[in-house]
Amino acid sequence: MIIYLLVVLIFFIGLYGIVAKKNIIKIIVGINIVGYAINLLFIVLGYKWEGMAPVLTREVEVSEFYRRAVDPLPQALVLTSIVIDLAFLAFLSALAIRLYEKYATFDMDKIRRLRG
């Protein structure tokens, strides 16, 4: 249970970074932390204490495999999710650099030509 609370804690730290911070770089860091929180949640959902890698070899009994092997599906999902996060990170960093060239600041409050 405590590990789920940890996930929620990380999630809210990241959310705080996105919502409250004004610096674009800090917002990007917040975005990454939120992404990691969700990835961690997926991994924790599939995890078993004293677990083993879900690879069935000749040495492993099927019953023991069933009892101990961790769920491989969340790991596959997290791999996909990491790739998507990477795309977000790359795009946002490029955008931040280009915005710095235009506005000479990372402050979200000063990057505000659009109104209404």
Binding site: V34, I38, L73, F91, L92, R98, K102, R113, L114
Partner: protein, 495 residues
């Protein structure tokens, strides 16, 4: 050949082929993109022929059956969305052949549009919740880049806000998916829908609220709308047309519809939330649109307002509510993309889209003014056009279901919509100008797609005629009203 995967395969393949074949040649890339979109449209028509008489096509990717395989499904509703998506994007691509010449690196533009189309078509045919997530992330990422395509300061600023909000919405949806997987151990929508009734109420509401927050952000319902006006008004005109015309509806409206109607099955609380958010966005969007000086910004707020009608339609439910929401979606998809294209045409010739700087567009660009009129009347709901009937149906449904207040709000916002469009027409399009009146119409290659869209807008009114309705709309409405994923038996595999 498996027909259901084709809409995804065509566009994904195209988005890899086009940059390889035409590295610098934007015109050929545009031609190729149009050809692939025609192919996509043809596949959707073929799917429509198979699906519209009733029933649905289901297939499993790679031939692996239920627990392992990824399920894809095409039924009346998703095929209707496929048709509208592919038709609108074909015409928008034709328009951008000329319009995008002002930009550099246009090959990238067509690649990103194809990628976005692959994502949207993927969302429409998926029956696996993770698959839907991956596809809408593909579409969203492409749309973030497309908004910043011009690399101007404002475009990048809008794209930054849009990206951060888009990421937040994805995170909410991902959180809900993690909850679903943890509680039920499946990501297949029919399996999950069967397990829903066994879940504890508190968990269920948590998941539903995460989904509504996530897809509400994508659909720009009012408390979550702040990104839409920036993103849709600063992007290049074809991108605005795609985003406002189909993207928010496929990623937002369609997913909200599937989740609230077909997965959780007409739960009263979800409907109340949709009615509330729908009325709120209808009114706030309308009022904000009234105060806008920039043409494209006004159209963007009007999108929020009109999406409110769609949300109200599904919130009311029943035959009339669903029919109204669906017709409103179709009418709005065509008229709003037409409007954004015409605003792009005005910007192309006049160099600005601020309504104060524009005077007497009609004197210089009579044909563009004509199609703009058509688009504005199409959205405002002037009688023979489709959105008049859809608004009427939604109002009747609201009265019939006992929501008289909402019906009154719908009428008020319809009047408000007509008034801000008429004001715009009077100040920017039909005002008198001094000096010489030289014709400066946009080239025919831009006019023709706009006229084609205008013709479709004119035809949307015919959707309500009984023979047309029973072929095109009734299947989709039946899906919205009666279908639930939990009734889908695992062994039913067509094809």
């Amino acid at each position: 050949m498996n027909l259901i995967v084709m809409p995804v395969v065509i566009y994904l393949g195209a988005s890899f082929l086009v940059p390889l074949l035409f590295r610098r040649d934007g015109e050929k890339a545009c031609l190729a993109a149009c050809l692939f979109t025609i192919l996509g449209l043809a596949v959707s028509v073929l799917l429509a022929v198979r699906v519209f008489p009733g029933g649905r096509l289901i297939t499993y990717a790679g031939g692996w059956e239920n627990p392992m395989g990824i399920a894809l499904m095409a039924d009346g509703l998703s095929v209707l969305f496929l048709l509208v998506t592919n038709l609108v994007s074909l015409l928008v691509l034709l328009f951008s052949a000329t319009y995008m010449k002002r930009y550099t690196g246009t090959v990238n533009f067509y690649v990103l549009v194809l990628l976005m189309l692959a994502g949207m078509n993927g969302v429409l045919v998926s029956m696996d919740i993770w698959n839907i997530f991956v596809f809408f992330e593909i579409a969203s990422l492409a749309s973030f880049v497309l908004v910043a395509f011009g690399l101007g300061a404002e475009e990048m600023e809008a794209s930054l806000r849009y990206t951060v909000m888009g990421f937040l919405s994805s995170v909410f949806i991902l959180f809900a998916m993690a909850m679903i997987y943890g509680l039920t151990g499946t990501l297949n929508i029919p399996d999950f829908a069967r397990e829903v009734s066994c879940l504890p109420q508190s968990h269920l509401w948590f998941i539903v609220s995460l989904f509504i927050a996530g897809f509400g952000l994508k659909m720009a319902l009012v408390p979550f709308h702040s990104w839409l006006p920036d993103a849709h008004s600063t992007a290049p005109a074809p991108v605005s047309a795609l985003l406002s015309g189909i993207f928010v509806k496929v990623i937002g409206f369609y997913c909200v519809m599937r989740i609230s109607l077909n997965v959780f099955g007409h739960v009263a609380q979800v409907k109340t939330v949709l009615l509330l958010l729908g009325s709120l966005s209808m009114v706030v969007g309308g009022v904000m649109a009234y105060g806008q000086k920039n043409i494209k910004r006004m159209f963007a707020y009007s999108t929020i307002s009109q999406l409110g009608y769609c949300a109200i339609g599904i919130g009311i439910g029943g035959y009339l509510g669903c029919l109204g929401a669906l017709m409103h979606f179709i009418g709005h998809a065509f008229s709003k993309s037409l409007l954004f294209l015409s605003a792009g045409a005005v910007e192309y010739m006049e160099g600005t889209s601020e309504s104060e700087d524009l005077r007497g567009i009609n004197d210089r660009m009579p044909f563009t003014t004509l199609v703009s009129n058509l688009g504005m009347f199409g959205i405002a709901g002037v009688p023979p056009l489709g959105n008049f009937w859809s608004k009427l149906i939604i109002i009747l449904a609201a009265v019939g279901a006992g929501y008289t207040g909402i019906a009154l709000l719908c009428i008020l916002v319809a009047v408000l919509t007509l008034s801000y469009f008429l004001r715009l027409l009077r100040t920017a399009y039909y005002s008198r100008t001094e000096g010489k009146k030289e014709k400066r119409e946009v080239p025919v290659s831009m006019l023709a797609p706009m006229f084609a869209l205008g013709a479709v807008v004119l035809l949307t009114g015919l959707l309500l005629l009984p023979p047309v309705r029973s072929i095109i709309l009734d299947g989709a409405v039946r899906v919205m009203k009666d279908f639930s994923y939990r009734d889908l038996s695992v062994s039913v595999i067509a094809e």
